[in-house]
Amino acid sequence: MSLLEVKNLTVEFQTASGPFRAVDGVSLKVDEGEVLAIVGESGSGKSVSMLAAMGLLPWTAKVTADVLTFNGRDMRTMSDAERRKIIGKDIAMIFQEPIASLNPCFTVGYQIEEVLRIHTDLSRRARRERAIELFQSVGIPNPEERLGHFPHQMSGGQCQRVMIATALACNPKLLIADEPTTALDVTIQKQILDLLMKLQAEHGMGLIIITHDMGVVAETADRVIVQYKGRQIEEADVLSLFSAPKSVYTKALLAALPENATGERLPTITEKLTDAEIFAGAMR
């Protein structure tokens, strides 16, 4: 049984010019211990589909799905209270802007212990010990002292480590990382990706990485889903995607990578491709 299973997920937003379909018939499965990358350009619906699966979209969004289960439980019929028990505990999420996703008014120690207070029945002292242990596992030096710091006292890379520690606080079964390294420098990106992969292997959790960066995909994923304008274009294991991409869109994306360029100019095939051509090979 898959950890997360989504079939035919559709998300619509009501706009002044009629309904806008941000996600159109997305289906995916993630197993325990598997790393799935969802890759696409901005507006491809990669973040929205994951937010919808977790029930984090505002009421203006109309979410429909044929199947939406986590660990065998139907997420569609679940009450909000029930869903809140799962989210943050069994499913955790980390976001793009580490500094913006932490509350500037509270110390990082308070914020990580808050998760433990809500989802576990550990005592105050046990929570503190667990927080220190978590900070150590994500490689934050001097955890005792660091727990008393505010987000603005830490660098972007350190804040992302705090976010990862918070996400891992309750040993989640599934971690969703939405552009975890986009705001970070390459050297820090490498550290964070290595850390995520190490923790993923240690805990055997499922990991979904949402990214627009083909480099991140190449460095992390087992399986890849390519999305464009809310629809899935291609699904493949990472090696076949890079060595023998099937869809015209994936081919165009890979050709546009500067490191694959052969001539003076980069090929910009996506500019000439129409939506119809891109969707022609799309999976349904």
Partner: protein
């Protein structure tokens, strides 16, 4: 031929005033860098956040005065701390910023954004300003109908085209590009990089290209300077720096850049299997 831009031992300090209990502090943002860019060439400055690359950009664009050292633009010594900036000097260097969502005034139409540099720095009459803006729109791959629209009606890539068009309105000699493609999608990034290359060929433009993305730098640069904590730790031609990096930091940087070739992916999967 005199290089378009020459910097000798360029330094920039920022003084942070102290408070009642806090002593004042001096931050040495740039600790003496020297470089030279010939006409029609591209110098890429690489480094992580806080290494001083944007401070260099601010000095080159004459936004920030230099603390010490010497900067020559077109063979002429520039020191905005001691002499006021003339419109003629200002039009020699223009800048394109990273985030096209933040660098265009949302309350101005594209036409006004493009003609503003002419209004400020030249005495070109209104009719000609309009003609020049129209011509520039076409040059950067936009259309005349975009003249009367507002920035929010454009995508990120189109906005960056507008920002590039604005920078070119004064026919600059030197264009400073501060992370011009890092906020853009992959396919749009390719389009903007191609546009920059086309414009460089057409106008013999000189670029100072600031980036943290080594794959982009490798594609576009003639010379590369790697900065680390305010110092230039490596400076040379692109092939020199990429094929034979000397400094440890440059090597770390290369090692940290994700690799997208099939062999690297295969090796990673093998490693993962062994661990599991």
């Amino acid at each position: 031929m005199t290089p378009v831009l020459e910097a000798k031992n360029l330094k920039r300090d920022y003084h942070i005033p102290g408070g009642l209990l806090k002593p004042s502090k001096t931050v040495h943002a740039v600790k003496g860098v020297s470089f030279k860019v010939e006409q029609g060439k591209t110098l890429a400055i690489v480094g992580e956040s806080g290494c001083g690359k944007s401070t260099v950009a601010r000095m080159v664009t004459m936004i920030d005065p230099i603390t010490s050292g010497e900067m020559l633009i077109d063979g002429r010594r520039i020191d905005i701390a001691s002499e006021p900036l003339t419109p003629e000097m200002r039009s020699k260097v223009q800048i394109v910023f990273q985030n096209p969502y933040g660098s265009l005034n949302p309350r101005k139409k594209i036409g006004d954004i493009l003609t503003e540099p002419l209004v400020i720095n030249t005495k070109v009459p209104a009719g000609e300003r309009r003609d020049r803006a129209m011509a520039m729109l076409k040059k950067v791959g936009l259309e005349e109908k975009h003249y009367g629209r507002y920035p929010h009606m454009f995508s990120g890539g189109q906005r960056q085209r507008v920002a590039i068009a604005r920078a070119l309105m004064l026919n600059p000699r030197l264009l400073v590009l501060d992370e011009p493609v890092s906020a853009l999608d992959l396919s749009v990034q390719a389009q903007v990089l191609n546009l920059l290359a086309d414009l460089q060929d057409e106008f013999q433009l000189t670029y100072v290209f600031i980036s943290h993305d080594l794959s982009v730098v490798r594609h576009i640069a003639d010379d590369v300077m790697v900065m680390y904590f305010g110092e230039a730790v490596e400076y040379g031609s692109r092939d020199q720096v990429f094929n034979d990096p000397k400094h440890d930091y440059t090597k770390t940087l290369f090692a940290a850049t994700p690799r997208v070739d099939v062999d690297a992916i295969r090796a990673r999967i093998e490693r993962r299997k062994r661990v599991a």
